[in-house]
């Protein structure tokens, strides 16, 4: 039985893929780190309150901070000793934010887990409400570029009665293969996690969306997908088909209004790493304390997929020298500051050849940004709106529909930072919408 095939979308671009080095590289544990600086605020919301003291010894998966006001509990990724409290940088969507952290040293190797751990919870007989409570107890965070507490995400999806639940394993960005490897090696676990979430949300359609050219890796998930009624869909390779709103449109033909989440059109989208974390917590009671990170790029040495505990320094994952180190993919990712640590948002740490930033020149109105924009924005007009600070024009032009894929900046022959400018407009628009009296420039 083949995979279902679906359509495509207007715009987008074929990027150089650069994934060959890590597509078949098995996940392996990273070098034992010297210290971990575990962020207390991974998802949005206030940081958790530490419940350990300096000098205290902690076990792996021990609670080291308690959630307050909508956050999630924080657990020690590895056993060790609390050395200090400090500040680190965590990625949250389009920027890094400063977050308090607990520093652990004298780390012990990760505890051995049996090959097939025993099941502690039978989710197939649980009611959706009970299942949602069980998932919320796990203090999980979505493993997405903008992590949110899974409990809150689940509550939103349940409140909006999302009919469609999608596991987005397209991984459209060059170099990044973390989710691909998770699905390739732990396919049945990912599918079962997806089924658990579907039951908790009450979704009728459950979809596993993968890249058309990599379906050969996922043979191991076919049985599980058929058992749990998960539709397997191969999508064409065109950047940014993995962006949430675009994926929802391609799969369901529902268009998300500008600035809204896909859940507002009844489509909940997650990734493979989160699904697996849900499975491990719900069925085995194992905390999410590490994630798979792709370390690749011209200056990264050997390209590899590593299982890295949360809180490890991004720069300690390889000997990067003076390379340009990126957090996430090269299109929507961020330049990695020295204080950045691995969080659920870290799908990849890339070390690329540092090149001088191109000097932007005047827009020559070639229209390539508009041609390739997946949201069909007139980006050159938005660039004018940015230069003239016409925020209202930008709002009517739909700037809030920007999916932050970076295609406009990629193709721009004048080397204008278009994505940055449209994002800036979007921020102003959303700020003005939430506070009409606020000063917009």
């Amino acid at each position: 039985m083949g995979l279902g095939r679906y359509g495509t979308f207007t715009g987008g671009i074929d990027l150089p893929e650069e994934k060959n080095a890590t597509l078949a590289a098995r996940i392996r544990p990273c070098e034992p780190p010297e210290r971990l600086r575990v962020p207390l605020a991974t998802g949005s919301g206030p940081p958790a309150e530490p419940c350990v003291a300096v000098g205290e010894s902690v076990r792996a998966s021990q609670r080291i901070a308690t959630a307050c006001n909508g956050g999630v509990d924080v657990f020690a990724p590895l056993g060790g000793r609390v050395a200090a409290f400090g500040w680190i940088a965590t990625a949250r969507g389009e920027r890094f934010v400063e977050s308090p952290a607990v520093e652990l040293t004298d780390l012990r190797p990760p505890p051995e887990t049996p090959e097939t751990p025993e099941r502690v919870f039978d989710w197939s007989s649980a009611e959706p409400d009970e299942l949602a409570r069980r998932i919320a107890d796990g203090a999980l965070v979505t493993h997405r570029p903008r992590p949110v507490p899974l409990a809150r995400w689940l509550a939103g999806a349940r409140r909006r009665r999302c009919r469609t639940l999608v596991a987005n394993v397209v991984e459209h960005e060059p170099y990044v293969t973390a989710d691909h490897r998770v699905l390739a090696e732990f396919g049945p676990e990912v599918i079962e996690g997806l089924a658990i979430l579907a039951k908790a949300i009450g979704s009728a359609e459950v979809v596993l969306a993968v890249d058309r050219r990599r379906t050969g890796f996922y043979a191991g998930s076919i049985d599980a997908a058929e058992r749990f009624g998960v539709a397997r869909i191969a999508l064409p390779h065109k950047y940014p088909i993995g962006a949430d709103t675009i994926l929802a449109k391609v799969l369901t033909r529902r268009e998300t209004p500008p600035g809204a989440e896909t859940t507002s059109v009844g489509t909940a989208i997650l990734d493979a790493a989160t699904c697996r974390a849900v499975f491990r917590w719900v069925c085995h009671g194992l905390r999410a304390i590490a994630r798979v990170v792709t370390v690749a790029g011209a200056r990264a040495g050997e390209a590899r997929n590593l299982l890295v505990p949360f809180g490890a320094d991004c720069h300690s994952l390889g000997d990067f020298g003076d390379a340009m180190v990126l957090h996430g993919g090269p299109m929507a990712g961020l330049a990695c500051p020295a204080e950045a640590v691995v969080t659920p948002a870290t799908a990849a740490v890339l070390a690329l050849e540092a090149s001088p930033r191109p000097v932007p020149t005047a827009c020559i109105r070639c229209g390539w940004c508009t041609d390739h924009c997946p949201a069909r924005l007139n980006v050159s007009a938005l660039n004018d709106a940015f230069e003239l600070s016409l925020v209202d024009d930008a709002r009517r032009g739909g700037a809030a529909a920007c999916v932050r894929c970076g295609v406009c900046s990629y193709v721009c022959p004048a080397r204008l930072p278009l994505m940055y400018r449209v994002q800036q407009l979007k921020r102003w628009i959303l700020a003005a919408a939430s506070d009409p009296d606020s000063e917009t420039p």
Binding site: L15, F96, A335, G398, V403, S409
Partner: protein, 416 residues
Amino acid sequence: MTDAPRPTPRRAPAVPLLPNPAHGPFLRAPEGARTIFLVTLFAACGPLAGGLVLFGFRAAFVAALAMTSCAGVEWLYFRVTRVPALLGRTHAVLTGLLLALTLPAFVPWYVPVIASAFAIIVGKAVFGGVGHFVWQPALVARLAVAVLFPTQLAVASEALPSRQPVLAQNRLLVGDVLSAGKGSNTVAWRGRPGPKGKDAFLLTPPARVLRGLTDARKPAFSAIVFRRPGPVSRSPAALLEMPPISNLLYGARPGGIGETSVILIAVAVLYLVYRNYVKWHLPLALLAAAWVTAAVAPVFLAGPGPAVRTRWLPLLTDEGLDVAFTYVNYQLLSGELLLAVLLVSAEMTSRPVTTGGQVLFALGCGTLAMLGQLYLDVPVPCYMAVLAMNTFTPAIDRLWRPRVFGMKRLAFLRRA
């Protein structure tokens, strides 16, 4: 839980951890603006080569003069005003080449120089340089010199002011267009030796011949009907008076250096389409609009006696579809319309951004160009049509936008 001091990190650190971030994406497509100009320059060299063959060394002289003086004026302008000339030099050379394509080869040396000054200063620099101008600089310059030097641009020889030279086939590339002798009006240029002792034929520009065929109201033109009156002639006048259409295809007719060779212009435009520097919709819509206009717009035929008949829809005249079809094609090929297509394709700044807007723009260009060619007594009607539509580019850009993802069509027009 011990009672050891537990410093809760509440305050943000005094020194921010995060330096001013470099923002993504960190990959860039290899093609820059300068690449675009260089590749366009390369594409425009095709029609220039055709001009060199058909109009000899004077074409090379005019082109070199226009390109160097454009670059020189640009350098001088930015030297004086101290505005940094980002991308300026390459674009100036490109502008010079495009300008040279529109000029005839026999013009005196000062015409391309003054045209270049107009192109760079009036066409480009006063608007703020590359990316900011409204009207295409090369066409601004062409229009300016058409107004300033009407005789120098139209008259090649004192003896026959209504005719312009094309090199005879045995003097291609090396001949001098100013050494020209009289040639037949309907000359089959192929295979004929040149006039005795001369390098070039003097021919009537085919657009002027066509104008005489279609506008019987003007006594200045030799007003004749499609088919000559009287029972004798069986061949339509459109075919008798005009050069064979193959001549128009490879360019053996009077005109600007790059205006005449339809085949080379088509190759250049197709190359630009292949490079994605212009979407195929734009040239196609322009040509289609011009074709339909020529097929529909009325012609004025000398009726029986002194009366003038106004005939709408010349495509369906009594002469038969074949004659009318040929007439419409002649209308497209005999003027400067084809080079206008190349010029519009080669200049991104002065055309709309979106595909729909470009189609709208092209429809306007094609229609206006053909109407101008049919009814206006102006030197370069097609270029004027392009300039006129350039004026509307900002308006088209504002009004014609694709439907934004997740929004209703025309949502940008609503107030709230």
